[in-house]
């Protein structure tokens, strides 16, 4: 329907390959009969200046491409439209260009300049799309241009463009592998990128260009682990697979203590050989000498950060984590993946197919893991055959002494299935269970013998083959079965089964002395009609009978050998000749004759029936190579664990002072740098708890913030409550409690999925003035005091902190997870006393790291100044300042990816600082500020505001003013001066009877005066 009606030709549903390319379009087919004309028409449409015609033409061309028709002769006409304004035409032109540029290299060059222009576009999405198309044009001549574009894009501001650059790397590499060194440089640069958007793509590029350069990962290892959960799902798969390989080269095996013991146990299971146990003992001895294993914290970090991804909806991610755990986790922890893998069995059959293959391999190594889920592998009659057979494989692998009876009962049902291939596989599975579990061998054998009377020949034949293998283990007890099978030769036609029976009778002819010669007689009769494989076994049977019972079988043997001598197959002729020489004594026959019996009737070891999935785990699980059980092109071997751990310090990251980093990195950093540890000494205990790998069983990612050592999950709830009532509650939490501001710096963490943000010292130098240490209570105390300061310049006072209000600057929804609040700290701004300090609190509610927070392009009204803070990482507390009366101030805050327009509207009351003066001074100043400078307003005080305390509190919260002592009971006076200009603001509140009151504000700044009156009245009215 998207295609316009003229496009109806596709609707017919006929898509046979042979149909003529054109000419049945109902709209235009009649007019344009031949290819030539039709293309002319398209060209004409493309040349027209109507976008709709162009679009129509492009749609038809793209449809041709989709059906695999050749549209290359339209190239010149199409390429002209590359700069078309219409976005859909443009997109379709891109599609065309990418498809045919390779074939029409010269013409394709015409389009390059358009893309080069696009690369400079201010819009990041256009830059990205230009790079994407440019790099998709496979024309070797533009390699230098591409290289340049990629390099530029790699340092683009926009992470989306950087992501595109990462995508372009493998494209360029496949075009010209000589660029490898330069590309590695770009990869190295992009690996250092801290955005989740880029991480997946650059690791993909790394894997394709330079997977051997494992050294590039060191510095980024911890970052990748921490970012992992936020990377898009496809990137997660690539990163997890790469980190699996990385970990195999950098860490020690977590199972080194157990692995040897386990191996020897396994070997013993499959038929113990003495050498193995000896080996194991020796190794165990050497093991004892080794120092005890301690898991590298980075190894632990990887395991912990990948675990939540088992819950992903994407099967590929789940599989990637599962293989990571299988290859890297201590044995005791691997079990967690079983549940997730079993869950995938509910998915589409293709997913099941791949998952079951991997489960089959895992279930050999770690049987216990899947045992609780045994029933999930039960087979339904509606499963496709290939799924049934894989499930059967898993069930067989899981069979052990305790569950074998359940499994066998289940197998009995399968044998009656209508799907004969599946029945055959079941019989083999029963055979394997019987060989592995001695207890049920007889039961299985009896069951299989019963199957010999089955009506389906295939079932019987398969049973014969399996019984043969089982009988080899203990032939003496089962001559009855052998007899029974001998009788089957009349009926069974499947060659492999016949051959098996013959071999069995020959091998154990001594147990069935009467039947064996008779079978040979029958076979001799039908010899010429048998299959080759059967013929060979007839010869074997004859030879063995000749050796044990030559009296009865001598003539038969010679008859058979004579027939074989003239057989068409030369293997059979050879065999006949060789056996004749060996067993029939003649004068010439050599020394071997004496040993013929030993040669033929030696004890033969019973075959071991084992899974075809055994030892498949030397391929990385989840890989294509594992699935095919063959090395696929480009497969990276999973390295063995090193004997000695390489230097773990290569992963340490140098963090410059203000760099944004996640708490974990930071924490690590602190351990190494005493510089940090004295300032934040309390992080010590957290660290030590974390570095002990085994004790660290907390759920992944629940790292505690470095500031407070309590675990974050508890904190979350508390903090969420506190959000509303911003205040004293936090104080108690702050153990140090030394600085007031400290409490506001505390990270607010909300939501489930996010990393703990660090507490970083504010970027501005903050020589904390001693007045800041005065506690709230002290300030209130001071309020009562009369300062007998007679100087004309009234002393500036530190403000009351009681009710600092916060205002929202950016809601976390609007800010895509970033929320910004601000409040006026009412403290003098240290750098410049004529500025108002605005304390901005930025919280990151996402789990992604936010970087490069900064104020860009502040739009200030005339007379305003802003002192910007330097670029910061996430969640740092910042103080900005304003120095003027302005009510409105727009600001464009931006992070490295996004710009948010925010505006700070300071209430007028915040633009002043309290002043202390005596009653007399106040009167004197008030006298100067009358007339125009005096504003009086009547108001009624509400019930709750009718106390001294309430009035003072409301006024001081509305404006940053200091109280002036006053003789009269019912009069309240406050004074302040504006921060910028230093002009006095005097407030007088007269409380008359009842609720009536009168407010007077004296100030030479009339605007301020009016606004202040309004604000105070509003505050009091509340």
């Amino acid at each position: 329907m998207a295609a316009s009606p003229a496009y109806g030709e596709e609707k017919g549903g006929s898509s046979s390959l042979g149909e003529p390319e054109y000419g049945h379009d109902p709209a235009s087919g009649g007019i344009f009969a031949s290819d030539y004309k039709r293309h002319d028409d398209l060209k004409e449409m493309l040349d027209s200046n109507k976008d709709s015609l162009k679009l129509e033409a492009m749609k038809r061309i793209v449809a041709m491409i989709a059906r695999g028709k050749n549209a290359s002769d339209l190239f010149p006409a199409v390429v002209k439209n590359v700069a078309c304004k219409n976005i859909e035409v443009k997109k379709l032109v891109y599609v065309y260009l990418v498809r045919y540029a390779e074939e029409q290299q010269d013409l394709a060059l015409l389009s390059i300049s358009t893309f080069q222009r696009g690369l400079k576009d201010p819009n990041q999405l256009i830059r990205a799309s230009a790079l994407r198309v440019l790099s998709s044009i496979r024309v070797p001549i533009i390699v230098p241009i591409m290289m340049l574009a990629i390099k530029e894009a790699a340092s683009d501001m926009s992470p989306y463009v950087r992501k595109t650059a990462a995508h372009a790397i493998p494209k360029l590499y496949s075009l010209d592998s000589d660029q490898k060194d330069q590309l590695i440089e770009v990869i190295e640069k992009l690996l250092a990128d801290k955005t989740t958007l880029v991480a997946g793509s650059v690791v993909m590029a790394f894997e394709e260009v330079c997977p051997e350069r494992i050294d590039l990962i060191h510095k980024n290892y911890r970052k990748l682990c921490n970012l992992l959960i936020d990377v898009e799902e496809w990137g997660q798969v690539v990163i997890i697979n790469m980190l699996t390989r990385y970990a195999r080269t950098q860490f020690l095996s977590p199972n080194q203590n157990e692995s040897l013991l386990e191996e020897s146990a396994e070997k013993a299971f499959y038929g113990s050989e003495e050498e193995d146990t000896k080996d194991a003992k020796a190794e165990a001895a050497s093991l004892a000498k080794r120092k005890p294993y301690v898991m590298d914290p980075d190894h632990r970090l990887l395991l912990r950060n990948t675990k939540p991804l088992l819950q992903s909806r994407n099967a590929a991610v789940v599989m990637a984590v599962a293989q990571l755990y299988f290859h890297l986790a201590p044995k005791a922890e691997v079990g967690v993946i079983a549940k997730a893998l079993v869950r995938l069995l509910r998915s589409h059959s293709e997913v099941q197919y791949v998952v079951l293959q991997n489960v089959a391999t895992m279930s050999i190594k770690r049987r216990g893991m899947f045992e609780p889920y045994l029933k999930s592998f039960y087979i339904r009659s509606t499963d496709p055959t290939q799924i049934k057979i894989l499930k059967l494989e898993v069930l067989t692998n899981l069979a052990n002494e305790t569950n074998i009876s359940t499994i066998l009962r289940e197998f009995q049902t399968y044998i009656r299935s209508m799907d004969k291939d599946f029945v055959a596989a079941t019989i083999q599975a029963i055979g394997r269970c019987a060989t592995n579990i001695g207890k049920v061998r007889d039961t299985c054998l009896n069951g299989l013998v019963q199957l010999l009377s089955n009506r389906d020949e295939l079932v019987v034949a398969e049973s014969v083959v399996v019984i043969k293998k089982l009988l080899q283990m203990q032939p003496a007890q089962h001559s009855e079965i052998i007899k029974h099978m001998a009788k089957l030769t009349d009926n069974i036609q499947v060659p492999m089964a016949r051959a098996s029976i013959l071999w069995l009778i020959g091998e154990y002819c001594e147990h069935v002395p009467k039947i064996a010669p008779d079978v040979l007689r029958k076979m001799a009769k039908s010899f010429t009609n048998e299959e080759d494989i059967v013929k060979l076994q007839v010869i074997n049977l004859a030879a063995k009978l000749y050796l044990t019972n030559s009296k009865q079988s001598k003539l038969l043997t010679q008859y058979v050998l004579n027939l074989a001598k003239y057989d068409q197959n030369y293997d059979i002729r050879d065999r006949a000749r060789f056996i004749r020489q060996l067993i029939v004594p003649t004068e010439k026959s050599g020394a071997l004759n004496k040993y013929a019996k030993k040669l033929f009737l030696a004890q033969k070891p019973a075959p071991i029936l084992e899974s075809s999935f055994k030892d498949r785990d030397h391929f990385q699980l989840g890989s294509l190579s594992h699935l095919l059980n063959a090395k696929a092109v480009g497969y990276q071997e999973l390295p063995d664990w090193p004997d000695e751990a390489p230097d773990p310090s290569v992963r340490n990251v140098e963090v410059p002072e203000w760099t944004k980093c996640t708490s974990r990195e930071k924490r690590k950093e602190k351990v190494e740098k005493p510089f940090y540890s004295d300032s934040e000494g309390e992080s010590g205990p957290t660290e030590s708890a974390d570095s002990e790998p085994e004790s660290d069983s907390e759920e992944s990612g629940s790292s505690s913030s470095s500031g407070t050592s309590s675990s974050s999950s508890e904190e979350e709830e508390e903090e969420e409550e506190e959000e509303e009532e911003e205040g004293s509650g936090e104080q108690s939490e702050d153990k140090e409690g030394e600085e007031e501001e400290e409490k506001r710096k505390k990270r607010k963490e909300k939501g489930g999925l996010r990393k703990v943000s660090p507490r970083i010292t504010p970027p501005l130098p903050q020589p904390v003035p001693s007045s800041n240490i005065i506690s709230t209570s002290l300030v209130t105390d001071l309020e009562g005091l009369t300062l007998t300061d007679t100087s004309l310049a009234p002393a500036l006072l530190s403000p009351a902190f009681g009710a600092v209000r916060t205002y929202e600057l950016l809601h976390r929804m609007a800010g895509e997870g970033l929320s910004v609040e601000y409040c006026f700290s009412r403290r003098p701004f240290p750098g410049d006393p004529h500025m108002v300090a605005v304390q901005i609190q930025i919280s990151n509610n996402t789990d992604a790291e936010v970087k490069s927070l900064r104020v860009s392009e502040p739009k200030l009204l005339a007379g305003m100044r802003i002192q910007e803070f330097p670029e910061i990482g996430m969640g740092t507390v910042v103080e900005g300042r304003w120095d003027t009366v302005a009510a409105l101030c727009f600001q464009r805050a931006c992070t490295h990816t996004r710009h948010f327009y925010v505006s700070i509207q300071p209430p007028v009351g915040e633009l002043m600082a309290p002043v202390f003066m005596s009653e007399n001074e106040f009167r004197k100043e008030q006298g100067k500020l009358t007339g125009m400078s005096e504003i009086t307003e009547k108001l009624t005080l509400p019930e709750k505001c009718r106390s001294d305390h309430a009035i003072v509190q409301q006024v001081t919260s509305a404006a940053n003013v200091g109280r002036v002592p006053c003789g009269a009971d019912n009069e309240y006076r406050f004074a302040a001066k504006t921060v910028t200009s230093g002009s006095l603001v005097l407030i007088t509140l007269e409380w008359r009877e009842g609720a009536a009151a009168q407010l007077t504000v004296n100030s030479e700044k009339m605007v301020i005066g009016t606004m202040l009156v309004k604000d105070i009245i509003q505050a009091l009215a509340q």
């Binding site: 599609v95 496809w234 909806r313 492999m496 076994q537 989840g622 063959a630």
Partner: protein
């Protein structure tokens, strides 16, 4: 000294000429059986590593009706290997999902009677490709309502544009349907009409910002006049019931599908009365995992429109209530060429709810020529070619249990089939989550308005089989 025959019969029958060493495309592809795979040699030319090289869409009759290449063009003759595998497999679902050819690997999924065949050249996690292909199908379904050959052909340009956005150089780029819909508008009848009149297009004229945001699954600037959020708790019972009626295995697989049409950036929390029931869960990426871990609450900013919030599993360890029972009596007599067939379906633990939409299917053995049956309600069909018996029962009335009785005509002369058919059951129970899962409450934060909220429960049969 002597060859011990120990290869299995199966292999012997299948053995095809095995070529060792050089294999060029002209020669027949080697069989890829599941147990034994020809080891492929490493001399293959590696022209740049990409994930997915090309995609072919093949219909049931073997026509390639769409091809898309993300790198150099791969000749469609590569699909011949696929056709051979298809021929070998008796049914479409038995075509191996991974086929190895001399120069490429073919990974395919089969959905809606279409094979989606991806061509790759180098090592790549197979699930990566398979999962991606399924995502492509889901996207088509989302765009066009149904994913059929006719639909794809009708919308070939949109399909092509979507595919172009989903992969870049063979690596997935935008797979969130929300983002894709911003890039390329899905066709609607109205829009098609408008487009023909005004000449505007399906391509979004605004550049999408979703890819750049921290909530990539949600568009910005969503507006609705009616703000509503609907949640469907759907549970499926997978069970195998044995001959005597006892449960061999039973599990509950549940999903919560949501249809959320809310303005702005709502932040929702959904809590359960009994979250401990959920044994294993997987989430849409929007769900905050930590919050679930610590509080067992689903907290998320929902995508706009329809999405699957959660899938869960109620473990086999818990006792699963089986809402129906099947009484059956299927007999093949040795002597006569007539067999008896009788089944009755009845309700068991239904918590007082009615069982609807009951459908019984059974694959009869080959020996059954025809069946003459009388149902007490509903209609039945027996297909003598595929031997599939279908009985559409409808609602179960506990007072008058539905039954299907009659006889089977067996092929004369042959012995009785030794297998009994399995009965597959489908049913639906409205307003019941069989596991007992209950949603406690749904709260919205971040927006001011009051949304309309609705929660619906339903229980269905999943893979529900009764062995006879």
């Amino acid at each position: 000294m002597e060859a011990v025959p120990c290869r299995s019969v199966r292999h012997h029958q299948r053995a095809s000429p095995r070529l060792i060493g050089l294999c060029w495309p002209r020669v027949a592809p080697l069989e890829l059986s599941l147990l034994k795979l020809a080891p492929w040699v490493a001399f293959l030319p590696c022209d740049g590593a990409v994930m997915i090289h090309s995609l072919f869409l093949i219909n049931a009759s073997g026509d390639i009706f769409l091809e898309k290449h993300w790198k150099s063009v791969v000749s469609r003759s590569v699909c011949d290997y696929f056709f051979e595998a298809q021929e070998r497999a008796s049914e479409a679902e038995n075509v191996p999902p991974v086929i190895s050819t001399p120069h490429h690997y073919l990974l395919s999924v089969y959905r809606h009677k279409i094979f989606f065949v991806a061509v790759i050249q180098t090592e790549v996690p197979p699930l990566f490709v398979i999962e991606f292909l399924h995502r492509v199908v889901d996207t088509f379904q989302d765009y066009f309502g149904v994913c059929s050959e006719v639909m794809i052909k009708d919308n070939v340009v949109v399909v092509y544009e979507v595919l172009e956005e989903m992969l870049d150089n063979g690596f997935p780029l935008a797979t969130e349907s929300n983002i894709l819909k911003e890039l390329i508008k899905p066709p609607t009848i109205l829009r098609t009409v408008v487009n023909t009149i005004t000449g505007s297009t399906n391509v979004g004229d605004q550049l999408p910002t979703g890819q750049l945001s921290v909530v990539p699954w949600r568009r910005t600037g969503v507006k609705y006049t009616n703000n509503e959020a609907y949640f469907d708790v759907i549970e499926e019972i997978d069970a195998i019931i044995d001959k005597s009626g006892s449960t061999i295995t039973a599990e509950i697989q549940g999903v919560i599908d949501a249809c959320v049409k809310l303005t702005g950036m709502p932040d929702l929390t959904l809590s359960f009365m009994n979250p401990r029931l959920l044994d294993d869960v997987s989430f849409h990426p929007c769900v905050r995992f930590k919050r679930w871990e610590s509080e067992r609450i689903l907290s998320f900013i929902p995508p706009d429109g329809n999405f699957r919030l959660l899938s869960y599993h109620v473990s086999a360890q818990n006792l699963v209530a089986i809402p129906v029972y099947v009484k059956h009596n299927i007999n093949f007599r040795d002597s006569s060429s007539l067999g008896r067939f009788e089944i009755t379906v009845g309700p068991k633990q239904t918590m007082g709810k009615t069982i609807e939409g009951v459908m019984v299917t059974s694959q009869m053995p080959k020996g059954v020529l025809n069946m003459s049956l009388t149902p007490s309600q509903g209609t039945h069909i027996f297909d003598p070619v595929t031997k599939l018996l279908t009985w559409d029962v409808g609602k179960i009335n506990p007072q008058k249990l539905p039954s299907l009785k009659g006889s089977m005509n067996l092929q004369a002369g042959t012995s009785k089939p030794d297998e009994n058919p399995t009965i597959n059951l489908q049913f639906k129970i409205q307003q019941l989550a069989i596991s007992g899962l209950k949603v406690n409450r749904l709260d919205m934060y971040g927006e001011k308005y009051k949304p309309f909220k609705g929660i619906k429960y339903m229980t269905k049969a999943g893979k529900f089989q009764v062995r006879t």
